[in-house]
């Protein structure tokens, strides 16, 4: 069917998905919780990667999609007693809506202006959450544990406080975004997005409406980021404005760059590496922002392709 989705690629991705699933039976408790968190955050990074890695549009405001998903889910559970599934899909829908609306304005600019505009709107979103503090409880944050009913599938009940439900919820979320990235990267749509990244003008000349494709990439990217936000709210039972702040727009950029922009594996590797770097560093010092800033500088100066990108360049050329 598709020459780019070879057996090798398929096998690699499925074995990683299976490996992550099996990890829950071996990992000690501390790393078990960490891996669950890493998988949700890697979903956020995978969404970011669709826009930045494949389409070549760097966004400095992706926290707004994460927060849109998180707040739509969190608020609907908190105030309206939504069930987990309907709240989750509402979260994705909210993030997609924000992405469409934002894209209609922001994609009118290009290059550096686009970057500035994303950062500005991301920050405006954060300020909006703080401004409506009486509703969003933004600066304090709130937990969902008292309002969220366990998920019922058939006769089974799944309580979100159970670590194993957290892990497998995160695993499902990540696996879907991971396989989706693989499919997008191999699909004709993905090839057009890469063409836009390499040369927007030429792609236009070939007859593609690049504006529409960019909008599509933005909406897919924003929806995946929103799904991560919605998943985070449900699985870790916390909603707060700090997830809309500028640092959470920089994190997915950092994770994607570190793992390798434009690789399907990059977001997971980058998120995991950074998570443990900060975790280890905070054992020695409270100054974890040095790690964030320092890694960004090192990546830009000496390591622009990231971990998976460098591996692909040197050894395994067929990595998508």
């Amino acid at each position: 069917m598709n020459r780019r989705l070879t057996h090798k690629v398929l096998l690699l991705h499925l074995s990683i998905v299976a490996g992550l699933f099996l990890a829950q039976f071996f990992l000690p408790e501390y790393h078990h919780t960490n891996l669950a968190r890493i998988m949700v955050l890697a979903t956020f990074a995978a969404g970011y990667n669709v826009l930045f890695g494949y389409t070549g549009l760097m966004s400095l405001g992706h926290a707004m999609f994460f927060a849109a998903g998180m707040y739509a889910t969190g608020l609907s559970v908190y105030y309206l007693d939504f069930g987990a599934l309907s709240a989750f899909f509402l979260g994705i829908a909210a993030a997609a809506a924000v992405a469409v609306l934002f894209g209609l304005f922001a994609l009118r600019t290009s290059g550096v202006s686009f970057l500035i505009v994303t950062m500005m709107f991301g920050q405006a979103c954060y300020l909006t959450i703080l401004y409506f503090n009486t509703i969003t409880l933004g600066d304090q944050g709130f937990t969902l544990s008292n309002n969220l009913a366990p998920l019922e599938i058939g006769q089974q009940q799944f309580a979100f406080s159970n670590p194993s439900v957290k892990f497998n919820g995160a695993w499902i979320l990540f696996s879907i975004s991971f396989v989706l990235s693989m499919v997008i990267a191999a699909s004709p749509l993905g090839r057009v997005l890469v063409a836009i990244r390499e040369n927007d003008e030429r792609t236009k000349l070939l007859g593609y409406n690049t504006y529409l494709y960019k909008l599509m990439a933005l909406v897919v990217s924003g929806s995946i980021a929103g799904a991560a936000g919605a998943g985070y709210a449900l699985l870790f039972s916390y909603v707060g404005a700090s997830f809309a702040a500028i640092l959470y727009s920089i994190y997915p950029l950092l994770w994607t760059l570190l793992g390798g922009a434009g690789t399907t594996l990059g977001p997971l590797i980058g998120t995991g590496t950074m998570f443990y770097l900060i975790d280890i560093a905070s054992g020695y010092t409270t100054a974890y922002l040095f790690v964030v800033g320092g890694s960004l500088l090192i990546l830009v100066l000496w390591f622009p392709k990231g971990i998976v990108g460098s591996i692909r360049d040197r050894w395994i050329k067929w990595l998508p």
Binding site: L60, I116, A287
Partner: protein, 293 residues
Amino acid sequence: MDLGPFLFLAFLEGTVTAFVLALTALGLSLVFGVMRIVNVAHGEFFMLGAVLAWVCSSLIESSALAGFALALFVAPIVVGAIALATDWGILKRVKYNPESTIVATIGLLYIIQQLVLSFYGPEARPVAAPIYFRVSFPWFGYSGYKLVVAVLSAAVLLASWYGISRTRLGLYMRATQQDMEMAQAFGVPVRRVYATVFVLGAMLAAMAGVLIVPVQQAHYLMGLDPLLLSFIVVIIGGLGSLKGTVVAAFVIGISDGMISVFFSPTLAKILATLLVAAVLVIRPTGLFGEDTA
């Protein structure tokens, strides 16, 4: 008190904000115009200016005026030196590539923030105004220092205008902005112009930080708001257009002051961002911008 005096007070507040914002945004706009890069750490240069002003004022505790004068001298030099090191150590190495520069300056932003947090601490610290007098209007008294800020900012803006339009360096800058390769072919030392512009932009931000600190306390996170407002200003004015930057700084500064007085500073920033959205619909390149993409 009826509406008139309130409006007047809001207008005064807005004008002071506008002058300081014009200084900060001018630095950002200058750097973009000539070098085609965006410095995300610009707000941190502003913050460093404010923090250095606190350091200077605590060195000379006997006289607020002497401390302020020292800060006005020391802060731009220190921040300029940091900017020079950044240009040489980072920007030159990534060949002024716009995206790499942005990632690198974000890195720099967090490093500077963390340095200030580690050595200066998380507190907001006040700095005494160098001169204290009140201007009394029929309805209320107004801090004279804020008017001094406006006058000093206006002086620096005028000096910048003179420098850009009447000096050899300004000529070099304009030539580089119009066509970097052609300028180089005509013997303009483009690399040195880049370094100079980056340093001057940082110095403008630092100076704005020193001026604002007696009004607003020095804090390690204070750089974000001016950065955001400067972004809004340069997008509305048009990236790279100095005239647009100054005009937009006044529009945004005065409306920000007005809305802050009547409603809340947070709402003012949200509305300003919506204004950007409106401008983008009408003119994607900004009100005074030429097509730079």
